[in-house]
């Protein structure tokens, strides 16, 4: 997929773009898909996009996005479309839930270790260290069981959570909700998303799917059974 944004496969010149080839229509000059779906591999990528989103919906989406942001948008749309085809039930949401679980697990482990470190650094007489090595005694298995029953993805649509320490390490977009970052604040321009594109498009790992609970609102609460 040509995601460079260069009009290398613009319509009306050297043959149809991948999208118009797939749609079997004439590729006109100024075809909105032409810069992003080349003749060779673009058709395959567009097939997934068309199946999930539909050509007209994608066209409308792209028209509402500034031109310099469209390559990134196309990459993310292709990623979501392929994720949805691979997993028709959860799409890329399962990947998000899995990553969220990893974050929680790492943060818990880090908190535990930081508490342990604080204990070690206290200027008090400590209990004798066991000969086997205290670090081994404080293994991951000693951590309290983490079994949150709900992962509230609605938090992604709320202002930044102050309890999430990791977010405090990063600059917060002032006018955007957490989890729905502005491109300039989180992904620096087109370069990073392009670097991520191969990882996303060509077989990003999709872990086991958690069970989703039903919800009547758009703020989805994902239940993990």
């Amino acid at each position: 997929m040509s995601s460079s944004g260069n009009p290398s496969s613009s319509g009306g010149g050297g043959g149809p773009c991948g999208a118009c080839k797939f749609l079997r229509r004439k590729c006109v000059a100024g075809c909105i898909f032409a810069p992003y779906f080349d003749f060779e591999q673009g058709a395959a990528h567009f097939a997934a996009v068309h199946k999930v989103f539909g050509a007209s919906n994608v066209s409308k989406l792209l028209l509402h996005i500034p031109e310099h942001k469209r390559p990134d948008a196309v990459v993310s749309i292709c990623f979501e479309a392929q994720a949805r085809l691979r997993d028709p039930i959860y799409g890329c949401v399962s990947h998000i839930v899995s990553l969220q679980q990893q974050v929680v697990s790492l943060q818990t482990e880090l908190s535990y270790l930081q508490a342990h470190l604080a204990t070690l650094e206290l200027p008090q007489p400590m209990a004798p260290v066991s000969s086997s090595g205290s670090l081994q005694a404080l293994s991951i298995t000693d951590l309290p069981t983490i079994s949150p029953s709900l992962y509230d993805l609605s938090s992604f649509f709320e202002p930044v959570m102050s309890s999430t320490w990791a977010m405090q390490q990063q600059p917060r977009p002032s006018d955007h909700v957490f989890g729905v970052p502005s491109s300039s604040s989180i992904i620096g321009g087109g370069g990073e998303i392009q670097a991520l594109a191969p990882e996303f498009i060509h077989g990003g790992q999709m872990p086991a799917q958690p069970s989703l609970g039903t919800s009547g609102s758009a703020s989805t609460v994902i239940k993990r059974e």
Binding site: F53, R84, I89, V103, A218
Partner: protein, 120 residues
């Protein structure tokens, strides 16, 4: 008009049949949910996707589609991918911090052992 139309049929201004594929998942009291999903995917695509799924999995599919649609509405450029990238960054930061803290714990324990040994 049938007052018991689902949100999808209300939005599409059509009759809601008894076997409407959208009715179980788009109650009439939440019109925004279908509006969002229709804006991104289109009713026809959603209908096709649901028809290809077993009945028992459709509710969860609708929820995940709604989530992705909302992400895309809120962030037209990156959608869900923005969240994935953010989480991956958080994981990387947490792993780095974890490695650093583990090293600090090891150093602190070594110092403590040396202090205790010198006391003995």
């Amino acid at each position: 008009m049938n007052p018991k139309r689902c949100a999808a049929c209300k939005y599409l201004r059509r009759r809601c049949p008894k076997d409407c594929i959208f009715a179980p998942y788009f109650p009439p009291n939440d019109p925004a949910k279908f509006a969002c999903i229709h804006r991104i995917y289109g009713a026809g695509n959603v209908s096709k996707m649901l028809q290809q799924l077993p009945d028992q999995t459709r509710a969860e599919a609708v929820e995940s589609l709604c989530f992705e649609a909302k992400c895309r509405v809120d962030d037209p450029v990156y959608g869900c991918v923005g969240i994935i990238h953010l989480l991956q960054t958080q994981i990387q930061n947490a792993q780095n911090e974890l490695a650093k803290t583990q090293a600090e714990v090891a150093v602190a324990q070594t110092k403590l052992s040396q202090t205790q040994n010198s006391d003995f």
